[in-house]
Subunit: 301 residues, 2 copies
């Protein structure tokens, strides 16, 4: 079965891709074993020219619509596109990416585009685990662009920046004090910054925001709007430029990402063993029992 699904994925077969995505998202023992053999094989067919782009911004900043517009342009250039929409499932924020099925209607229905909502579980690393595997699948299937869309929440962003080549941050027009708080974090994570909704009443404000950021950030930054095709074109040029000029940075990023991935696989395996051990123990004092747990673990791994 594995051999067949692998050659189908390499041929870009959508049903095989969908099946593989379901396997890697599953947490059953059987599917985890399948994931292991599937992804370690697909990894050998990784397409190094696939561009992995993180796309982050708060709810309401217009990420999905922007990805839709960027995607449409890329489809015109005969590119194949995958969109992984991570839903951080915040019980308090509510607003779910998955809830809104009308988003990215053009991309969702195009044969060269695959839109996939990625459920994020409420656990550490849960966001990135199956996402890494999904990226491997689309890369092996020779997709040109993989967009990882995420709403702007600290840990999720950070996890996503650990998965992609290029991290795009989508902001809204703002000024003064509002800008101060975000600058440091953005400087750390972003490769490209967009100030969205630069149309109608907000256009002037958006351009002022760009100028404000330019004073202190050494990153490419432009104002943008889904209603301005030339501005969408500009984003694509910024992305192209990033991939042309930052080849060395991307190479180093990818090496680090493989290290992090290997680490997370080891930690996930160990966590399962630790869970089995701790579930049976009544812990009187966590710090006292840490050493005993490590001793037990040593025998079990």
């Amino acid at each position: 079965m594995n051999k067949e699904i692998i050659s189908s994925i390499l041929n870009g077969d959508r049903r095989a891709i969908a099946k593989a995505l379901t396997i890697v998202e599953s947490t059953t023992d059987k599917d985890r074993a399948l994931t292991e053999s599937l992804i370690s094989k697909l990894f050998e067919y990784k397409n190094t020219s696939t561009r992995i782009i993180g796309f982050s911004g708060i709810t309401g900043s217009g990420k999905s619509s922007l990805i839709e517009e960027i995607g449409k342009r890329l489809l015109e250039q005969n590119k194949k596109i995958a969109v992984l929409a991570i839903d951080p499932s915040s019980p308090i924020h509510g607003g779910s990416i998955l809830g809104d099925k009308t988003r990215m209607s053009t991309l969702s229905n195009h044969p060269d585009c695959f839109v996939r909502p990625v459920p994020s579980k409420f656990n550490n690393g849960g966001i990135s685990r199956s996402t890494r595997e999904a990226v491997s699948i689309f890369s092996a299937a020779k997709y040109d662009y993989i967009f990882i869309e995420t709403v702007g929440v600290g840990q999720t962003e950070y996890s996503v920046s650990e998965l992609c080549d290029c991290f795009v941050v989508n902001l809204l027009p703002a000024t003064g004090d509002e800008l101060q708080g975000v600058k440091k974090g953005i400087n750390e994570l972003a490769d490209i910054i967009l100030i969205n909704k630069a149309d109608g009443a907000l256009e002037t404000q958006a351009n002022l925001t760009v100028n404000e950021y330019k004073k202190s950030l050494m990153k490419p930054i432009v104002s943008t709007s889904i209603y301005a095709p030339e501005k969408i074109e500009e984003i694509i040029k910024l992305i192209d430029n990033f991939f042309f000029t930052e080849t060395e940075t991307i190479k180093i990023k990818r090496e680090l990402q493989n290290q992090q991935w290997a680490k997370s696989l080891v930690v996930n395996d160990l966590e399962q063993i630790i869970d089995a051990v701790t579930e049976k123990s009544k812990i009187a004092n966590p710090y006292h029992e840490k050493k005993q747990l490590i001793e037990k673990l040593k025998k079990l791994i």
Copy 2:
């Protein structure tokens, strides 16, 4: 030194508490070793009657002001209160709890109240690690209430719900579709739900929201306002009631939390070792090299 700081903490000495908090938040090897001996000792003096209350809600929902009002009432009842304000440091959201120093001015200046911002690092488990230790310190110092304030973002909330006895979710008036998304998550996490800002123009809307939620949620829910002392009193009664009626639930929660804590201590130790191993390796294929990494690890733990 340790003996002295421990007896000072047990006596409620604020300087000793502040010093201990700084130690547990530090990540140097020396302070980690100190944390281990300090917390494993303090854990023995854990005050089981200390009430640990998670307090979550989105930015702008008025959490800090509510905690200030609840806190003032509890101080009138001669209770000692700690507030741990977790700052998820989102580079995209920006808005920082720590940035606003005027919050909780009464509590911040009261001798029976200790307000502490808890930095959250951009790593898995970073949010809860030093917070657990901080809770142990205030519990040993015989504080009656520990409020863990957090903005509503998926992983943070979940981490906080793993630390507290009672999880309070603070929402704003809303109706219809907006409610659908949040219901499931809230039902899972919340022990008490507050619909805040039930005053002025929003009062009617807040009461409608309460009724809407009551239809589908089996949790205590009230509308509230910092301008209505009787409503603040009602929150305190709900909390009291939770601790009187849910003793068995709380006992089970605390046992699970100790298991999770022990697990996270083990995982943190292992992660440091794994980091050291993976940093030196060039990973060609993460899935292939997982087993070799586990073998190496076995020799090192």
